[in-house]
C-alpha cells in the first residue's frame, strides 16, 4: 500500500517539475499575484493527485492541468471580482523578478483592457502562454474555428486602437 502511494508521489514529482513553471506563469497572468498563483497551482496539483483516476487515465497531462488552472483562475476571479490595477510602485513585492513580472502583468492587462474577456483570453493563450489554437480550443472547450475568429476580432481591435503594430498571422 505504502509503495503504491510512494510511486504515485514520485510520478507526481516529475509531473510537477515538468509543468510547474508554465502552470505558475499561466495562473500568474490571470490573477496578477504570486501568492494566489501559487495557491491555485498547489490546489490543482493536489486535486490531480487525489483523484485516483487522473494519474493513470489522463492522456494529455499538460492540457488537463492548464484547463484545471484556467477553471480555478476563473473561479477565483468570480469570487474576488475583476482584478484592480494599482501602480507597480505601490506593490510590495519580494524581488526584482516579481516586480518585473508584475509590471508585465499590468502592461498586458492594460493593453487588452478594451477587449471583451473572451477575446482577451484567446490572445493571452497565444502570446502569453505560447499555445496554439488547437491547444487553446481544448482548454476553453471550444471549436478551433471559434478560437480563430475571436483571435481575428481581437487583433483587428488592437490594431485599430493602435495598441499593436505590424501584421499578424494565425
Amino acid at each position: 500500500m505504502f509503495k503504491i502511494i510512494k510511486n504515485k508521489i514520485n510520478e507526481l514529482e516529475s509531473i510537477i517539475e515538468e509543468h510547474q513553471n508554465q502552470l505558475f506563469s499561466f495562473a500568474f497572468f490571470r490573477v496578477g499575484s504570486y501568492h494566489t498563483a501559487q495557491d491555485i497551482v498547489q490546489d490543482v496539483f493536489l486535486k490531480f493527485f487525489q483523484n485516483k483516476k487522473t494519474l493513470t487515465s489522463v492522456k494529455n497531462v499538460k492540457t488537463y492541468l492548464l484547463k484545471s488552472i484556467a477553471n480555478a483562475c476563473m473561479d477565483y476571479q468570480r469570487k474576488n471580482g475583476k482584478i484592480k490595477m494599482v501602480d507597480i510602485e505601490c506593490i510590495n513585492v519580494a524581488n526584482d523578478e516579481e516586480k518585473i513580472c508584475m509590471a508585465e502583468f499590468i502592461r498586458i492587462e492594460d493593453l487588452l483592457s478594451e477587449l471583451p474577456a473572451e477575446q482577451s483570453e484567446v490572445i493571452k493563450l497565444k502570446f502569453v502562454d505560447g499555445l496554439n489554437f488547437v491547444e487553446s480550443a481544448e482548454i476553453l472547450n471550444m471549436s478551433v474555428n471559434t478560437i480563430k475568429s475571436r483571435y481575428r476580432y481581437a487583433m483587428d481591435k488592437l490594431k485599430q486602437t493602435h495598441k499593436i503594430k505590424g501584421e499578424y498571422y494565425e
Binding site: L12, Q20, N21, F29, E97, V128
Partner: protein
C-alpha cells in the same frame, strides 16, 4: 506582436513542489490520524460490529445498547493525547508484535499526540519506534542504530492492528463471520466488557509458527470500556497453551488528554552507553 508577449515570465517558487508533496503526505497522515483516533473507541465499535450477529436474536434493549456503542466511536475525535502502558510477553529487542515464550512481561509505553500533525511513540526497554509526522523510525537501543522509512512504516508489525482500528475492525469482522470465534458482551454498572475467543490463524502443519504471535495462537481478547465516556479502559490478551490461558498482553493504564511534550515524543532514544542514537546511523528503508 512583441507588445503582447511578456518580457519576462515568472518561475514557479522553489517551495511549490515541496509544499505540494508535503501536503499530500500530511493528508495521508491525517487520514491515518482519524483511523488511529478511532482506536480509542475500538472497544465500542468492536462491540457494535461484533454483536451484529447477536442483534438478530437479541431484544430491543440490546439493539439500543449497540446503537449507543456505535455512537461512541465519534467520541474519540476530540481527544488531544493518549498514553497506553501495557505489558507484553516478549524480549527487549524483538519486534513489537512478537510473543516470545522465553520472554518476560515487558513494560511498553505507547503515546500519541493527536494535534496536527499527529505523532506517536512506542517504546520498550530495547526498542523505540516513532512517527514524527514525516518519517517513521525504529531504533534498536542496544546497537544505537535505527531504521527510517518515509511516512507511516510497518515497524509495529502485527501489533499495528491494534493501533489501526480499521485494520482491527476488518480483522474482527472476519472473526465475527468465522464460526470459530465466540463473542460475549457483559454489561456491569459502569463498564462494558467484550470477550472474543478466536482460533489460531495460519498454516500450522509443523506447529513451528503457532503461538509466535497473538493471531497465530488460540486466543482470548478482553476489551473493557467505560460506559459513560465510551473510551477504552483496558485490554487483555491471553493465548491458550497446553489447555490453559496465559496472559501475553495486558494494559496497565490508559490515560487520555494528559500533557505530552511533543518534542520529547520524537526525540531520538538513548543507547546503552547513554548516548543519543545518531541520525547518520540510520538505515533508510
Amino acid at each position: 506582436m512583441n507588445e503582447i508577449t511578456p518580457k519576462m515570465k515568472p518561475s514557479a517558487p522553489l517551495s511549490l513542489k515541496k509544499n505540494i508533496i508535503n501536503k499530500i503526505k500530511m493528508e495521508k497522515n491525517k487520514m491515518k490520524t482519524l483511523m488511529i483516533k478511532r482506536l480509542l473507541a475500538t472497544a465500542a465499535s468492536l462491540a457494535a460490529l461484533l454483536t451484529v450477529p447477536f442483534v438478530f436474536t437479541a431484544n430491543n434493549e440490546a439493539k439500543a445498547a449497540i446503537r449507543f456503542l456505535g455512537k461512541s466511536i465519534n467520541k474519540s475525535d476530540n481527544l488531544k493525547t493518549m498514553e497506553v502502558k501495557f505489558l507484553m510477553q516478549t524480549t527487549p529487542n524483538e519486534n513489537f508484535d512478537a510473543i516470545r515464550d522465553d520472554g518476560n512481561m515487558l513494560e511498553h509505553t505507547f503515546t500519541i499526540s493527536f494535534e496536527n500533525p499527529h505523532i506517536w511513540r512506542l517504546e520498550k526497554s530495547g526498542r523505540t519506534s516513532l512517527f514524527d509526522a514525516v518519517n517513521s523510525y525504529s531504533w534498536l537501543k542496544q546497537l544505537g542504530i535505527g531504521m527510517m522509512a518515509p511516512g507511516i512504516a510497518e515497524f509495529f508489525g502485527d501489533f499495528e492492528k491494534f493501533l489501526d482500528p480499521q485494520n482491527l475492525l476488518r480483522h474482527e469482522q472476519q472473526l465475527a463471520k468465522n464460526d470459530g470465534s465466540e463473542i460475549a458482551m457483559q454489561e456491569t454498572g459502569s463498564q462494558i466488557i467484550l470477550t472474543i475467543k478466536s482460533k489460531a490463524k495460519g498454516d500450522f502443519t509443523n506447529d513451528y509458527l503457532k503461538n509466535s504471535s497473538i493471531m497465530a495462537s488460540d486466543n482470548k481478547r478482553i476489551y473493557t470500556f467505560d460506559k459513560e465516556t465510551k473510551l477504552l479502559q483496558a485490554m487483555l490478551v491471553q493465548i491458550l497453551y497446553k489447555n490453559e490461558y496465559h496472559t501475553v498482553f495486558e494494559t496497565t493504564s490508559i490515560l487520555y488528554n494528559i500533557p505530552v511534550d511533543r518534542e520529547k515524543l520524537t526525540e531520538r532514544p538513548v543507547n546503552k552507553n547513554g548516548q543519543r542514537c545518531m541520525t547518520h546511523q540510520i538505515i533508510r528503508l
